[in-house]
Point group: C2
Chain length 150, copies 2
Amino acid sequence: MKEILREIGTIARALDSISNIEFKEYELTKGQYLYLVRICEHPGIIQEKLSEILKVDRTTAARAIKKLELNGFIERKDDPYNRKIKKLFPTEKGESVYPYIRSEHIHSDYVALAGFSDEEAETLFQLIQRVRKNIEVDWEFVKKGNKRKY
Amino acid sequence: MKEILREIGTIARALDSISNIEFKEYELTKGQYLYLVRICEHPGIIQEKLSEILKVDRTTAARAIKKLELNGFIERKDDPYNRKIKKLFPTEKGESVYPYIRSEHIHSDYVALAGFSDEEAETLFQLIQRVRKNIEVDWEFVKKGNKRKY
DNA sequence: TTATTTTTGTTGCATTTACAACATTCTAAA
DNA sequence: TTTAGAATGTTGTAAATGCAACAAAAATAA
């Protein structure tokens, strides 16, 4: 069995660390870029959904989002039909940093795929998506308090 | 440009979260499994090297390792030829949990690769390793305080 | 040899992370 | 319709994370 997940963990830590350093310039503290990009791409998304997409703990997402709001990157709007939820939208300020996050991410993808043919990149993308889909089932299972058997 | 790194981040968060929950059973707190497996596999490794391999901050590694020692999973030994370094070794207790970490990881790899042919798994492994090598260059560069241009 | 620089390790401090426990509102079942 | 359960959000608390700043030893340069 090849240690694919170990490699994935290493890559993810490296990337997250790079991004966190690079986004300090835009007053984004650790982890915040994650939420902000998604809110820009899915305006109106709610916090619960965001935590599911990103695979972060509900309460961690809650606090990150609170801070994004506090710092003026996003705003929360009540839904007239569902008083439980708060829809999240980027502010002007949030929209204005989005392109910088995008470029950073595009650059990292570019670096990551250095030496890859178009076909190899496409293959990797397809395979990694399948891994993500496989793993998210277990994540929800375990996060809900269930125990995996193995 | 395909969002490969975004997928990788999501997978890594999901897996880390699963592992952290599953290893509580062995009295390992958040993140500790990472260091313990590597120390078991590379007895005598030093903390600095560990942080480079794993791509975690030096000081975070330092504290995780301190805690592993405090809880009896590993021990540190002075090197007679180099008074600066402290070599890390698993204790009996550390060795005894290692197999459980291994099985968990193997199971996760198994889940991740569900539906993959042997060839697809091998391809993914090769490609992902290349990504890791590409990215670690930038990690060291940025961690050392340099600024990427893009 | 002496002086610099690099390597390795630590600690203070502010922040993030995540479990547990709770409160509301909504949805589905009885 | 009432009730039980699920969905969504919050807060308290303990712990992990990571930057800055430091110290000591080793490696390299002058």
